[in-house]
């Protein structure tokens, strides 16, 4: 077999078995983003807390999960924990690993977003006697979220590809199913060409979504006050012309 068969690659692309793997990859990514955001928000709030126990725990959490490979985390959860009598289904193991890992990265993004909102915004909210909840939901969160979108986009892009590591613990997502097809037919390039195409499509779709989000949440960005812009360098993705 000394040639590359485009027809075979196209056939793999439309292979039903492989498509189901794509759905698992999408599912893992979406669930890990949602879970990771919720947990990451909690970790970020703890990190910003003045309570030394909470912020210490959060620091440790971030240090630990960002400092060890996701692959090891997954393997430990899948093969290591049963040794202690803790057993999850394969999918649960993958989700737990991905969420715990993603939360550590997202926590730092969330924290950076909140810290970039100037203290004056909170003071203005207090002066208007807004409740802490209203201040969070209507004043700080929307501004922080806008600043979070670019780094969040990067992180989700990485996560999408990192789900392929779940193949190692036998989750039948895109990568694993490609391996299975490859071992069956030995058309290595053709199978992985199809898988590569899928990953590219998924990341491109996400890019488009991210651009739309940035546009939506940046609806006042052309009008952003210079002061806020100067204090939040993280958010400056483009040069803006003042109207």
């Amino acid at each position: 077999m000394s040639h590359f068969s485009p027809t075979a690659a196209v056939n793999y692309f439309f292979n039903y078995f492989l498509m189901k793997g794509v759905l698992v990859t999408i599912g893992l990514t979406v669930a890990a983003v949602i879970g990771g955001l919720i947990l990451g928000m909690g970790i970020a709030l703890m990190r910003m807390s003045s309570n030394p126990v909470l912020s210490g725990f959060s620091r440790f959490y971030i240090w630990f999960f960002r400092g060890t490979p996701l692959l090891i985390q997954l393997v430990v959860i899948y093969s290591g924990l049963p040794q202690l009598g803790i057993k999850f289904s394969v999918i649960t193991c993958a989700l737990v690993g991905l969420i715990l890992n993603e939360a550590a990265y997202l926590a730092e993004i969330v924290r950076a977003g909140f810290m970039a909102v100037s203290a004056g915004q909170r003071e203005a909210a207090w002066a208007l006697s807004l409740s802490p909840w209203t201040t969070f939901r209507r004043v700080t969160l929307p501004q922080a979220f806008r600043l979070m979108i670019p780094p969040l986009g990067n992180s989700i892009n990485s996560l999408l590809k990192a789900t392929s590591l779940a193949s190692v613990i036998s989750v039948e997502e895109l990568m694993r199913r490609s391996d299975m097809l490859m071992q069956e037919h030995f058309q290595i390039l053709e199978v992985y060409a199809a898988a590569t195409a899928y990953y590219l499509i998924l990341t491109s779709v996400w890019d488009a979504v991210q651009r739309r989000l940035e546009k939506h949440f940046g609806r006042s960005s052309a009008a952003k006050s210079r002061r806020v812009a100067a204090r939040a360098p993280v958010a400056q993705t483009s040069v803006e012309v003042r109207a």
Partner: protein
């Protein structure tokens, strides 16, 4: 202490200050201290402000003037001493802090408008969420005050599309939408381009003429002369002297006030 009128948001239009005898002062501070680490920002400050009175607080930078007015609505927490606002003590109780903040409006040096909301949204947020006003009602109220600061036509714009002077006038309107009894101004014109200072000062003068109780930290001595009932001069965290403007500008009693005036009046 009996006439603590705390029915806040519903205060009627002209209910600003009708000075009466023996009424509860708008602000009363007794031996207030505030420390930042080793630095003493407020050093045994006593201050009484009557309802309807206009006070200009001035002094060199770092003298504690901003800290002083930021303690009045508890944006800074004083460490020692007593602060009463319209008879409500600013202790650490949430309900008292909320009551005081509903009675006071604040205008900041850097405007602090919410950049992700339009001018109108900035103005209606607090009336709708704090005073549970309907959107229609809140919008009417906001347009009323935006008209008063002479920018009703900018209501749908975002703050960043406005000039500094316009932004500061929006900030004033936003504060007024909560119908405060006392307005605190923290160097409201210091961040403005020179040609925009006047429009903001005019707005403040108008407010003063309507009888609003005002405390302004400002270096605008022309404004102080014209509007203030009393000048409070601070240095190193202490109130060094208090006097009517003509008295203060003509014969400052302290050496420090004299050198300060020499520096800023050219």
């Amino acid at each position: 202490m009996s006439e603590m009128s705390m029915n806040t948001a519903s205060g009627a239009e002209g209910a600003m200050a009708q000075p009466q005898l023996r009424e509860v002062p708008a602000v009363r501070m007794e031996a207030v201290y505030k420390h930042y680490g080793d630095f003493t920002a407020l050093n045994e400050v006593d201050l009484k402000v009557a309802k309807g009175e206009k006070i200009v607080v001035c002094g060199p930078s770092g003298s504690g003037k901003s800290t002083l007015i930021r303690c009045i609505n508890h944006i800074e927490k004083h460490d020692e001493g007593l602060i009463y606002v319209n008879g409500v003590e600013l202790d650490r109780q949430r309900k008292n802090i909320d009551a005081v903040r509903r009675d006071t409006g604040m205008v900041f040096q850097s405007f602090n408008l919410f950049p992700h909301m339009t001018v109108l949204e900035n103005c209606i947020l607090a009336p709708m969420t704090v005073s549970s006003m309907s959107q229609a009602e809140a919008k009417d109220l906001a347009m009323h005050f935006l008209t008063k600061v002479r920018i009703p036509d900018q209501a749908e714009k975002f703050p960043g599309q406005l000039s500094g002077g316009q932004q500061q006038r929006v900030a004033i309107a936003r504060a007024l939408c909560m119908r405060p009894k006392i307005m605190l101004f923290d160097e409201p014109t210091s961040a403005l381009d020179p040609e925009m200072v006047k429009e903001v000062l005019e707005t403040m003068k108008k407010l003063a003429e309507e009888g609003m109780t005002m405390l302004c930290v400002t270096h605008e001595m022309g404004f102080a002369r014209e509007v203030a009932d009393r000048i409070v001069f601070m240095n190193e965290g202490k109130v060094v002297e208090q006097a009517a403007p003509e008295e203060f500008f003509k014969n400052p009693k302290s050496e420090r006030a004299r050198t300060f005036l020499d520096q800023i009046i050219h």
